[in-house]
Amino acid sequence: MATLSASVPARAGAPGRAHSAQLIETLLVALLLGIAGYSALFVAPTERTMGVIQRIFYFHVPSWWSAFVAFSIVLVANLAYLRGRNPKWDWLGVSAAEVGVAFVTVGLVTGPIWAHPVWGIWWTWDARLTSAFVLWVLYVSYLLLRNLIEEPERRAVISAVFGIFAAVDIPLVYFSIWFFRTQHPQPVIGDGGSLDPTMGKVLLLCWAAMLGILVLMVRQRYRVEALRWDVDRLRLEAAQSANESTAR
């Protein structure tokens, strides 16, 4: 029975302390989310024309902003990976991409939920919604592409290059669809008009809560990738030790 030659390396900081720090952070974000939710539902004034359903706006809009933050992280991770080839940037890239896709999905789902009671339609091919849909497809493709390449280094390099193409494409997508819509107008699902100051504060609060969730989720997902790497390495070392001892 071969023994492992390498001991399992400790993650930064003693396990107990990291665990409790993580717990505190999760509780803080949960608290923030609770406050934000309460504010959105009860503190913010009711919108005149749309009524209660408009409150979904406090989650619909920040989810887009959070998605953009996530995708910006992906772009930075992609560029950093190509420069230094450190696998950690690759882990960050895939984590942020998955979280970003989750936020875009939230946006794409809350949009129609908002639209239907107000305008009577589930979907409109307006500029923002259509761009969002393309954005969703782009980053889902990024994740699919990663799934279809086995070798870790090739996967990281290729998805990084694709990620850069996708990121550069986003402003072009938005602009082309927006300009198309100015020529062929359609109903717009949106937050037209100026914003009441209280509404503005609640909006920012909700965004802060979402950013908290974003950070937590990206970090968790990153940890999963790091663990996966460790498991692969240990498995390989175990196999090699087994080979060496049988060879002797």
């Binding site: 080839r85 070798e151 870790p152 280094e153 790497w229 692969d232 390495r233 390989l236 090699q240």
Partner: protein, 248 residues
């Protein structure tokens, strides 16, 4: 019909691997390999399958980038290493696991293409001149797809020799060659070795080729396990490696 060889032709290139490490995901294909090969040496690289021979040769060919460590090249008689990768590639010829030729093009077209890519003058004449010693002149207008295995290997070797390289890298070059072909290979290698070319060759059998070897190096599990340089007797090591492989 004699064509003047290109400048910096078969004056040997020396190559040094400094602490080369190559990692594929968690798997270490090469670990801390340091090796210096002087101009004009003919080095046989031996080792079991998976010991890292092909990876090392590909790193020498600048096809694969090492994860850490460095590979440096010196032109003959020069104190400064070559710093332009294109300059290095110009002096390298490689015979790989695949034949590196286009099936759809004829033998002549293939060689002419590569002569042009290597910046050689009078590419067509050089292509024809290269076919002659390989015994392929009668098949010059046939697509490579129609060639037998032995002929394809001969053409691959002719392709490698086109730019009159200072460093010739060969990955099991005797594969697919019949005894006549192996004899031709041995003679060809002897000839260019005499002209000063450095040769690094991974090999399994074919003693025809071993007669010109000046040094043998053995890799095991990605590490440099044995070097015949101190003892100056490569043949003993080669014979031992051959026996070991035939035994398993």
């Amino acid at each position: 019909m004699a064509i003047a060889p290109p400048a910096n032709s078969t004056r040997g290139v020396s190559i040094e691997f400094q602490n080369i490490e190559k990692r594929y995901g968690v798997r270490l294909a090469l670990r801390g390999v340091s090796l210096r090969i002087d101009a004009g040496e003919c080095v046989a690289l031996v080792g079991a399958n998976g010991s890292g021979k092909t990876t090392l040769i590909k790193i020498a060919a600048l096809l694969v980038r090492p994860t850490s460590g460095r590979v440096s090249f010196w032109g003959s008689g020069s104190a400064h290493p070559l710093d332009d990768p294109l300059d290095v590639k110009r002096r390298i010829g490689m015979v790989a696991h695949h034949i590196l030729l286009y099936d759809d093009l004829t033998a002549e077209e293939n060689l002419e293409l590569f002569a042009k890519l290597y910046g050689l003058d009078r590419p067509r004449e050089r292509a024809v001149a290269a076919l002659e010693p390989a015994g392929l002149i009668s098949r010059r207008a046939d697509p490579v797809r129609d060639f037998s295995r032995g002929m394809r290997q001969r053409l691959a070797i002719a392709r490698a020799l086109l730019p009159s390289p200072g460093l010739l890298l060969l990955d099991e070059p005797a594969t697919g060659l019949d005894p006549a072909g192996q004899h031709w290979l041995g003679e060809t290698l002897a000839r260019i070795h005499q002209a000063g070319c450095t040769i690094l060759m991974s090999t399994h059998g074919a003693s025809e080729v071993h007669s010109i070897v000046t040094r043998a190096v053995r890799l095991a599990a990605g590490c440099l396990a044995e070097d015949s340089a101190p003892s100056g007797d490569p043949q003993r090591m080669l014979a031992a490696a051959l026996a070991a492989e035939q035994g398993t």
